[in-house]
Symmetry: none
Subunit: 238 residues, 4 copies
Amino acid sequence: MRTSAGGTGRDGTRLRADARRNRELIIAAARELIAERGPDVPMEEIARAAGVGVGTLYRRFPDRESLLVAVAGDNYRRVAAEVRNFVREGHGAWHTLRSFLSHASDVRLSLRLAFFSERTFSMLKHDAEARRSRDELLATLERLVRDAQTEGSMRTDVGAGDVVVLIGLFFDPARRARLPLAVPDDRYLMLMFDALHSGNATPLPGPPLGTDVLVRQLATDDDASPTPQGEPSPDHRP
Amino acid sequence: MRTSAGGTGRDGTRLRADARRNRELIIAAARELIAERGPDVPMEEIARAAGVGVGTLYRRFPDRESLLVAVAGDNYRRVAAEVRNFVREGHGAWHTLRSFLSHASDVRLSLRLAFFSERTFSMLKHDAEARRSRDELLATLERLVRDAQTEGSMRTDVGAGDVVVLIGLFFDPARRARLPLAVPDDRYLMLMFDALHSGNATPLPGPPLGTDVLVRQLATDDDASPTPQGEPSPDHRP
Amino acid sequence: MRTSAGGTGRDGTRLRADARRNRELIIAAARELIAERGPDVPMEEIARAAGVGVGTLYRRFPDRESLLVAVAGDNYRRVAAEVRNFVREGHGAWHTLRSFLSHASDVRLSLRLAFFSERTFSMLKHDAEARRSRDELLATLERLVRDAQTEGSMRTDVGAGDVVVLIGLFFDPARRARLPLAVPDDRYLMLMFDALHSGNATPLPGPPLGTDVLVRQLATDDDASPTPQGEPSPDHRP
Amino acid sequence: MRTSAGGTGRDGTRLRADARRNRELIIAAARELIAERGPDVPMEEIARAAGVGVGTLYRRFPDRESLLVAVAGDNYRRVAAEVRNFVREGHGAWHTLRSFLSHASDVRLSLRLAFFSERTFSMLKHDAEARRSRDELLATLERLVRDAQTEGSMRTDVGAGDVVVLIGLFFDPARRARLPLAVPDDRYLMLMFDALHSGNATPLPGPPLGTDVLVRQLATDDDASPTPQGEPSPDHRP
DNA sequence: AATGAATGAGATTTCATTCAT
DNA sequence: TATGAATGAAATCTCATTCAT
């Protein structure tokens, strides 16, 4: 049984064991460096951190964008399980949402990665599994938001898309690195939650932003068909 | 008696008319491009946008940092008058603070510019007038925050420094440009205000952040006189 | 057992064959051009002369200084063997000294290269092998001078350091290139030797200049061990 | 009575008093800076040192070469009187030659300046007075050398041209600046004299080099007629 | 398949020289 | 006429990407 997770080449053929290992090393190094220094770190440094040559990196990922896509996809996968666990616990939607976004820095990275650039986003469409993971993540987020709103603990004029935007704006490591200040993430995360909590009556301009809007907004120019072609391996975990 | 605003060379001598005009064109172009694409836009593009040669740009500003400083300084000056007007109106501190930060996009740019890099910040110290403007801006912010807290409309576990950080994190045009979404600034500004409004009881980690902390944190190596006038951050805890 | 001469990267690892060849082409081109036009020839020209792109040059030598160091180091190595041969012959120290400096233009280039700039010199300290070669060269020079003085054929109020300075002043190709004259090196080399010959009684201001002085004068900031082996300048005053 | 000394424009018209003053300030500043840092000092620095704008400098001297020519010419004139004095004293030709070259740093600068570049040299041909001063200087040098040789104190296989070459090679301030060593000029000047002193029997390759050779060698490509055209003001000091 | 060398297109900065004020 | 501002052609160096080993 072939799992597709990060283990297939462009044409769907199985990668050699060492090749797959390199692929993973590269993605891990890239995630680290990107999280630390933003999406513009020199390719050579990523290669060095991964312990491979640039050539290898480029053989695996023909350009920077496709590496970003891979990192994003990988991250979604990493997050997928975590997501389910968080939800299972059942401490109330609002609390779950908070701890979900507070503790899982991978989640935050995931939410940011999809929106690094149009091309990153649009390429994501061609990796069916990553897209599926992403959609699961977004669906979970949607559900948590909806439940929290039903509970009455979250204001109803915001949507899951707003949460994604907030995360995307807030947690930019490049920006943070540039701020010559040691500001604690937590403090501003808390403020963000307070902003989202119900009891804040200021009416917001515009309707709640759903994640569907985010996704749709990016899927206009390219092909509209949901999963057009090049789905390397349709079979995935049950 | 003329003030020197924008019209003096490094040594304080008056610039020739055409030179001053170019200087202003450059700063305007730089502000525009920086606001649009962040502080790393090619110098050549800035020059082109200003309608001058690179050489001219470099004659006026020997390196990128000094251009950033100039843009920051200029922006502070542009903001200074506006600041006073806003305050004069007197519709209550909270309302004033909101409209102050909501309407003046220059204010937001100013608050961000000071913290682009340590060197930008530190060079700013040597431009007395820009520093004065900055300090006036920060002092105003401090006052508004304090008053709003006294009014009971703003939570007391945040400080003016927190506002600056939030602005700095939120309104990064480079980041925005990268987001392939047309997100309305207003919406998130509102959320930010709601986060800052009183009635949000979640205790924040850490003490309120004053602007003095921001300024002091960056002023270690150089001159010791922290903030010549415009006392930012008197005590304001409840 | 291979020596690493010219064939190792910065970290001592073996270079690939083609890289080593390029490295050598670059050094050769640089030596040529530097000898012809001084240490300021455009990097791009050096690259062109070597038949490579600038990028290659910069990959090998991250900046101009490090290229100069490499050329110096290489030159020392080239000279090292020659030095021993000259000395072996044994026609009397004075004669040896003369032919040593007369025939080997590489020797002269070497003696000049170490003193192009403080940074060149100081970086040289970190290339152990080049330093060893340099020290061997200087030690040989010291010995020849001392022996010639013992023989009675060389004035005793000069030292090997003086010889280096004279070479350094005389054989500046940039200077020569600028002189719109075809002056024969030999002629002035001969005059220099006559100046150094004994029987010239004019007392010189200052003590004989040893090469140790040259070396020490430049070795203040960095490591304290002055000259690992190849003892330049034992006492040699009459 | 119009004296031509530095006081005429390109077309021979008398310069306004302030213009002449500027011309002199520029030349003085240029001499200083050139002597200190070689013939490549930025034009703007020369202008600044002279207390004028670059525009003024360029109005006076259309390019760098012509400034060098002017500095050379001026220097010759400054030296001319000195030359006569030195000779008048009459302490023996050898002694005179030594003190002549030892004490008058202007003399040394003059001897170097003529040979900075072909164009410098060739342009000199168009400034009749400077050429005359130069020729006087060279003639004096020739005479001193000849007399010293007649006295028996100077070797006869060298000529005044050799002396010029030696000076030209030795006293390059740019070179000296680069040497990270404080070497005393005197010491090497003394050595040079010892080289030139009789009693040094090593036969030199080639014939004595006369200054005529220097001059002739540079006058081939251009026009051969001694003072072709454009002698701005033939009348000069009686 | 892996490596890392080579490439060349920018980006920054300097400075000789021209030109508007 | 004096000024110094404007220009643009180098020169240095970096890095994404391609290609030989």
